[in-house]
């Protein structure tokens, strides 16, 4: 029907189509800064033509669909990198706190305290009969033990804070999983009706990205457009319109385990199955790194207790009697000075067996000499060496985590930029489109007024 009314139809369709395009352009501009938004476009095609003399006559335009512009593979890559990013940044955060606890760069850490303790024995050797040097040595020992206890407790405190962070993250994960399940429902309903659920999908992609920064997930989409997210070796977190809950529970160890629960009340501990996201970073720091550090401190304290006690018991105190144990305890957390020595400094055994008192100072010299003896690491390190290598070890762990965070930041920036270059809104482009569609709209309107004039001419003929 390429009559005059047909042309009017072409014009009215064109008006509607351009208006739709302008509306979508407006949506794009409005969401230029919305996280996760993919720009959209109206797909237009020519309307069914009519065969007519002298040839096919077009019947105008029709909008077919509103489509988002995106690369489906890039989302998966971003999620993957986000898991590593979450892991390393969580680990970096926790390790940096431990690095601060050691506080060796200022020169007032345990290294210094140990040196002072050993040296105070040389002060005793210079004046073995005097109580002053003995009292000073005991003070130095107290300072050193204070540092041992403080470091140990502060590192343990980091462990406890990690537990709190893990518990808090459970709520975020569960909330995100619920939202994804709701969006699954909306997307499937929208798309069963034959339309693209652009905004819902953008929103769901963003939630999956957030989820992967917390925990490693495996995702796939079914034919209804619903996404399944699996955690901890194949346990579902979201499937169709359902979501499952994770919770942090105090398990056999004193720390929080991550527990997955199904609807029937069955539960499974998945702590060891988590391999990415912030949770992995925290769990690794809490269960691997920190126990390593604490163990090193314990070994250091235990060796010190044994070596010092052996020597002290072999020496003679100011009364010429064999020394008692100098330290009590067996670890960095419970090492203490024998209270009877604190109460009576004469019990400090400064003389070696066979020497006279009060002038004998051989044991004090031997005690001070412990600082040079290779007592640690199977005879390859002194006490200070051993501790210094612990500090270096923690330093290089922090450095490694920082390097990984930097690397992941670069990777993510790169991927985000790639995603932006495909899906991001360019205001200049939208502006050009706006002008383009506006002109088409104006021209379509002009078409209607032209047809109006034609019809007026016709009517006036009658």
């Amino acid at each position: 029907m390429s009559d005059i009314y047909g042309t009017l139809n072409v014009a009215s369709r064109a008006l509607l189509a351009q208006q739709k395009a302008i509306s979508v352009t407006g949506h794009n501009i409005a969401n230029a800064n919305t996280p996760g938004f993919s720009r959209q476009r109206v797909n237009m095609e020519t309307n069914e033509p009519l065969s007519f003399y002298p040839g096919q006559m077009g019947t105008g335009v029709r909008p077919v669909s509103v489509q988002r512009v995106y690369d489906q593979f890039i989302g998966v890559q971003v999620n993957h990198e986000n898991q590593s990013m979450g892991r390393w940044s969580a680990q970096k955060g926790a390790l940096e706190r431990i690095e601060m606890i050691l506080d060796e760069s200022t020169g007032y850490g345990l290294n210094q305290r140990m040196s002072e303790f050993w040296n105070s024995w040389e002060d005793i050797s210079n004046n073995p009969g005097s109580p002053t040097e003995r009292v000073v040595m005991l003070n130095k020992a107290e300072l050193m033990l204070g540092e041992f206890h403080k470091i140990y407790q502060d590192i343990e405190h980091v462990q406890k804070e990690i537990d709190i962070s893990i518990s808090g993250t459970m709520e975020d994960i569960n909330f995100t999983a619920q939202e994804i399940a709701v969006l699954n429902d909306k997307i499937s309903q929208t798309e069963t009706g034959g339309q693209d659920a652009n905004d819902y999908r953008d929103k769901r992609d963003l939630l999956l990205k957030e989820l992967s920064s917390m925990i490693d997930i495996t995702t796939f989409e079914n034919e209804k457009g619903m996404v399944t997210a699996l955690v901890g070796r194949g346990r579902p977190l979201v499937e169709n319109i359902f979501s499952w809950n994770l919770s942090a529970q105090t398990g056999t160890s004193e720390h929080k385990d991550v527990v997955w629960q199904d609807n029937n009340g069955n539960s499974a501990i998945i702590t060891q199955d988590i391999s990415g996201g912030k949770l992995k970073g925290w769990i690794e720091t809490r269960d691997v790194k920190i126990p390593e550090y604490l163990n090193s401190l314990d070994i250091l304290a235990d060796s010190m207790i044994n070596e010092v006690n052996n020597l002290h018991e072999a020496g003679l105190d100011l009364n010429g009697i064999a020394g008692e144990s100098f330290f009590t305890g067996s670890s960095a957390s419970d090492i203490a000075i024998n209270t009877s020595i604190v109460d009576d400094v004469n019990l400090v055994a400064a003389a070696s067996a066979g020497e006279g008192v009060p002038g004998g100072n051989g044991n004090a010299i031997d005690m001070a000499n412990l600082k040079n003896r290779m007592t640690m690491s199977d005879g390859h390190a002194s006490f200070n060496d051993y501790y210094n290598s612990l500090v270096s070890d923690i330093g290089s762990n922090v450095k490694q985590a920082s390097i990984n965070v930097k690397h992941e930041t670069e990777m993510l920036t790169h991927l985000e930029n790639y995603r932006e270059s495909i899906s991001g809104v360019s205001l200049d482009e939208e502006m050009v489109n706006l002008v383009k569609f506006q002109h088409a709209y104006d021209a379509s309107a002009k078409l209607i007024s032209t047809i109006d004039e034609l019809l007026t001419t016709l009517i006036n003929m009658v």
Binding site: E104, N384, V391, S421, M431
Partner: protein
């Protein structure tokens, strides 16, 4: 590449962050003067820094030990010197009183002086350094020498060797055994006591006999003093060694730990310029838009 507005904003942000991050690092170095501000800045360096600090603490302690040892040895040296002088005076008296030109009264007066010399030598042999008797062996809290009314000496020295630490596994003996110095080789008290007895008895032959004994005593004191002097020399050269060593370690510590301020400041200025450039470039790229032109 298609460039979206968010991409521009993200890139500007990430570049500015990178620049400010580097700038902050450099500023921390300049303000602290240190290259290594936390273990992760350079874990290997941190290990070395801690080693150097341990060494420095030890060297400082050796310094304290050495000054204690020096005080001990110096005092020993001066005590031995004084005792030597007293023995010389006793020898002069014996030479003088052995001659017949002096009267028995003179000898009685001289015997009073010799008694004084005996007590002075004994007081010197009982000298304390701090609260320790110098010549008592380990028995440092008891005066090592005492006498009865007849100038018979009693002594309570044990054979303790008191060492101090002057280096890693290096000890130096700082005490001089009172028995070895004053009793065993030549009994200096007996010699002076005998002189006194001879003077009181007005026996010129016996007085003359003590001249050689006193000579022997003096020689022995000189030998003991020479031994002390040798140890003083050793302790002083060790002290010099540690002073040099400390300087050396401090230099190495500084190399490891301290920022090369000239370099860091010039790096910081370069970084500041880069930061300003990226600010200027960002301002240029985020300002204009098509809106400015199609109105």
């Amino acid at each position: 590449m298609r460039v979206s507005n968010r991409l521009i904003a993200n890139t500007v942000n990430s570049n500015l962050f990178k620049n400010t991050d580097r700038l902050l690092d450099l500023q921390t170095m300049v303000s602290s003067g240190k290259r290594v501000n936390k273990p992760s800045d350079d874990p290997i360096s941190m290990g070395r820094i801690l080693d150097y600090r341990t060494t420095l603490a030890s060297v400082d302690q050796y310094g304290r030990n050495i000054s204690n040892g020096k005080a001990w040895l110096n005092l020993t040296d001066s005590v031995l010197g004084s005792i030597g002088d007293l023995v010389i005076r006793a020898k002069e008296l014996s030479i003088y009183q052995a001659s017949d030109t002096n009267s028995p009264d003179d000898r009685r007066i001289a015997s009073e002086e010799v008694k004084n010399i005996f007590d002075q030598v004994m007081a010197l042999a009982n000298t304390k350094q701090g609260n320790s008797y110098l010549f008592a062996g380990f028995n440092t809290d008891t005066p090592p020498f005492d006498r009865d009314d007849f100038y018979n000496i009693t002594h309570s020295v044990d054979n303790g060797d008191i060492d101090i630490v002057i280096g890693v596994d290096v000890r130096l003996n700082i005490n001089t055994n009172g028995d070895d110095a004053f009793i065993n080789n030549v009994n200096i008290f007996e010699v002076i006591g005998d002189l006194n007895t001879a003077l009181e008895a007005d026996d010129t032959n016996a007085i003359a006999n003590q001249i050689e004994e006193l000579e022997n005593a003096l020689n022995h004191i000189l030998i003991v003093r020479a031994n002390t002097g040798a140890r003083l020399n050793r302790i002083e050269s060790t002290e010099n060694h540690w002073a040099d060593f400390k300087l050396n370690i401090q230099t190495q510590l500084s190399n490891e730990e301290d920022a090369d301020i000239m370099k860091v400041v010039s790096d910081m200025i370069a970084q500041e310029a880069a930061y300003k450039a990226s600010l200027a470039a960002s301002a240029k790229i985020i300002q204009p838009s098509l809106i400015d032109f199609i109105r």
